[in-house]
Subunit: 151 residues, 2 copies
DNA sequence: CAGAACTTTCAAAGATTTCTGAAGACTCGA
DNA sequence: TCGAGTCTTCAGAAATCTTTGAAAGTTCTG
């Protein structure tokens, strides 16, 4: 087995490219590469050499988007967290919100620009495209889930 | 027709949410809402009250990702640009690169973590998911193109 | 119920990103 | 080839985003 830490840092870099802030990306990578089932905030701070405040913020953010979850009841004083099953599908679903926002922006734009302007033609194509994606993306994700569940 | 400028600024805000820098987002929105077929850099700088340098940078960036294009040969000294047909489909296709990066990061992670670790299980799901998306997303986009072209 | 062990919050420092403006490069017509 | 008009580049200023560290808040245990 090669150097896990290095692979984790590379993963963090990729995640950061995707828009996560650096500390959050490193925390997420640590969850992904953890040897244990769940991890505590203190462990993360020590392992990554970042402040407890940063870890707290990262955990809050990652929980909000559904990538990690609190682990029910390990008889311990500390909170334990772990990566959620189906996290990536959840993440992509939530990006669907961006698709919806684009659709709505196009729609409002058409109303503002008037129906027969050049702008309306362009915005019409935009609305079509994002409307299509907004309908089809969830179906695609479901298709993956179905395929996975079929052992 | 309502206030086009306001709709454009709202659109710019949405685009900025999607990761474009503010000046670039405002330039893009201006392209979308333009009354004319093509637009020049100077017009953009004046209309948006931003520096020529910012406009230059924005045009370069938007050209690179395929959202706008230089208009062939309008007999004018200035360069003219316009939004490209199918720009949104192109944009989504290019985001496929992110999907690929996630797939590859997962793949490398599995190699580093060793096959029977908890990490490998998590990374395996990730690799499956992004692998699936990498295969299916282009097909989905093509499906939209086909639907559009069928008048 | 008090104290210890953790966690969260938040103001301020630090880091990073973005924008500007001016200098230089390019292009085209005369 | 010159010069007017336009575009690009880039160093530094400005704005924005992140992280830290310490104080306040919570929650368990004894």
């Amino acid at each position: 087995m090669a150097d896990t830490t290095e692979a984790a840092e590379r993963m963090a870099l990729t995640l950061a490219q995707g828009g996560l802030q650096k500390a959050t990306a490193r925390v997420m990578a640590a969850f992904m590469f953890a040897d244990t089932d769940s991890v505590t905030a203190t462990e993360l701070a020590e392992q990554l050499h970042i402040s407890s405040g940063s870890v707290s913020g990262a955990i809050k953010m990652l929980s909000t988007v559904g990538l990690i979850e609190r682990v029910p009841a390990p008889a311990s004083r500390r909170e334990h967290y772990r990566m959620r099953d189906g996290a990536w599908a959840t993440l992509m679903s939530s990006q669907n919100g961006m698709v919806q926002a684009m659709f709505e922006a196009a729609d409002q734009g058409i109303k503002a620009a008037g129906a027969d302007s050049p702008a309306a033609r362009r915005l019409g194509e935009m609305r079509d495209f994002y409307g299509f994606m907004f309908r089809e993306l969830p179906a695609l994700i479901d298709r993956w889930r179905a395929g996975r569940d079929a052992t």
